[in-house]
Amino acid sequence: MLQLPIPAPDPLPLPLPPGVLKVLLLVTFTLHLMAVNFGVGGSLILAVHAWRGKPADRELVRRLAPLLPAAVTFAITLGVAPLLFVQLTYGPFFYTASVLMAIPWLSLIFLLMAGYVLLYRFVGATAATSLQAGSGILAALLLLAVGLMLVNVTTLSLRPDLWAAHAAASPHGLRLNTADPTLWPRYLHMAAGITAVAGLFLAAWGAWRDHSYARRSGLRWFMGATASQAVWGTWLLVTQPAPVLNLLLDANTAPSLTLWLSSACGFLALFMAIPASQEGAPPKAVWPPVGLAMASVLGMILLRDQARDASLAAFGFQPGALPYRTDWVSLGVFSLTLLGLAILLFVILRWARQPTPPSPGTGEVVP
């Protein structure tokens, strides 16, 4: 019988210890996901509000939609780094999965650019029309389709046992990873999560600006999307391959602890969001659900990584055992650049928030 076709890893050593690379992967992925929540989830929510078209909805769109293109820019930019670190450590799995579904994977960039152009149309529209709302909804759907391609490659990369059959069925790389039962629940779990966090961002903005409609609408989005996780989350759990499922159901393992703690945080956030979304609730009631939901998201990011390593361990892959030789000079250059960039961002964001200078001749300061 043939062995599973897992390509040999590259002979060059990793430039940093695998643990450090794992931290870089998780940190950059978290930043990417936050920007995606804002840009993609925000596009969906604001497009739906534009579609509803009531004066309060239109006001939300007018005030918040201009932030979306920058958020999507950062979602793309911040997404490159985790893509790099994934390829570095999990290359044999990642590349194989992407080649096996090459055409849908390549379509990702066209979906992304088309979605982005439409988003600019949505934001730049001078009149609130159904055409504007339609372009917003289409933009959000295209950006969500980018996520579908990412989930396809990610799930296929974890299942070397499906690769040979996938390759035989689709020699030109046309097929999605539909043979994997985790594909759709994982995608819907992610899409609901993005919408929920974007709703929370809207609620937090409403609390910060004392904008009751934004706060209550945001919480309603959060509650609806999070409640639906009872379906998507459970579906995702029960479709996990046996090694991962056993780990998650065994109360003595770290992944199990992560799963139950982050689920509990999510449930508690949902529970506390109900009174906070009522008419007349104090704005500060938003913050406990925001904090708990963020803790839940961070837990889920950790869990995602633990489940990945558990899946691949079943095929004999241990990322922690990869050989490395620390490249101190490159690490120094990277760290100095990061420090310089952080200082610069601090300074320019202060500039961006300063009051507008007086127009010549008026002496007035516009806040």
């Binding site: 490159v80 790099l84 090459a102 994977w105 990277f334 320019i348």
Partner: protein
Amino acid sequence: MNHPVWDIPFLGSGWIIGLISIIHVSIAHLVVGAGIWLALMESRAQRAGDTELLAWLRGRAKALLWLSSIFGAGTGVGIWVAIGLVNPTATQHLIRAFVMGWATEWLLFAGEMATLIVLVRAYDRLRPGQRLALVWLYALFAWLSLVVINGIVTFMLSPGKAWSTTHAMWDGFFNATYLPSLLLRTFVALALGGLWALAAGGATTGELKPRILRPSALLTLVGVLLAALSGWYYFQSFPGPARDLVLGNLKGATGLAQGFRWAIWGLGAFLVPALLALWASLAPASFRRPVALFGLLLACWGFGGFEWIREVARKPFVIREVMYSNGIRVDQVAAYQQGGFLPANAWAQTFAAAKGDTDLAKGEAILRSQCLACHTREGYRSLKALTATNSEGDNVAFIQAIRELDPALNPYLDRMPPFAGTEQEAEWVGKYLTTLKAK
């Protein structure tokens, strides 16, 4: 190739990278040049107190954000996706060697986007000095990201002896073609950025028009002329065999010759924008946007031609002297010729097994792994056409002949990897090649 093969009929996988790269490389260089142009123009307008010009430049910053955030970043991700699909083995090798370089470039790109977004979105809140600082920082970030990527791109052409022993990132980064390539790319960026500015300025009217066109034309002229000079310097710095490959194929009648002729025409076309810049400078009132766009197209053709020559000059390698274009490392060839390619490559085995493990299936599996990086069966660089008059014996003899590693005995070695398999495997490939005639 250690990984599965993405089999693209007719077009071939190389063109997937090529098409995305042509767009990305043009936009990426244009944005670098336009960043420098914007900083120079902002300085000039602020010094002169030219409020009309300042207001116009604000619109150009917006356009630049639109161009770089959607199409620059989108096609940049596209190149990542495409190279990983077409040559995953080489991509993984490059990432292992240069990951911290790419991570640093990523920070610089984030800085580029952050400064441009703040510039556009907080324009009214910025004091003139802050705006000037921001626009120069934007230009600097954009250029520095070129400084970093240039190290990785040039490494593939001239990795150098030091790297092959130390495998230390910086030994590969500062290689023999690094500086000439950086100069060329910087000047090309100025030319493309200048032409973009001429296209934007060409649509203006009145007194403002010459105030935009004259400095933009000067930048274009400087960019085109210095790019031509540094292009020559860059070509002289190519490793000897790479230069010989280009010059040899220019005269010959090989399949590459036609491509080279197109590229050389492009290099000539690259000089035309210098004349268009003179027009914009001397008679700005009559200069129109379509003229500049035509110049931009010619410049992109010329630069694309040069990039094509650089890519082809790497043949038969993807990383010169380290890895062949089919993803087989130079140090693996002897072992594959001795012990066989199939036993060491799980994906080729998987493909052959799926087709019944016949001789033809094994031949096709090896051909997919070793030949489809550059050829297609029936389209671009068609194997069917190349072997149309061959008998099965001719095909088998040919594949067995290109197992030879001595350049004196294998005349294809300067542009095609040796066959990395046993004599028996060569026979399987030869047999499969013969079946293409009937398809």
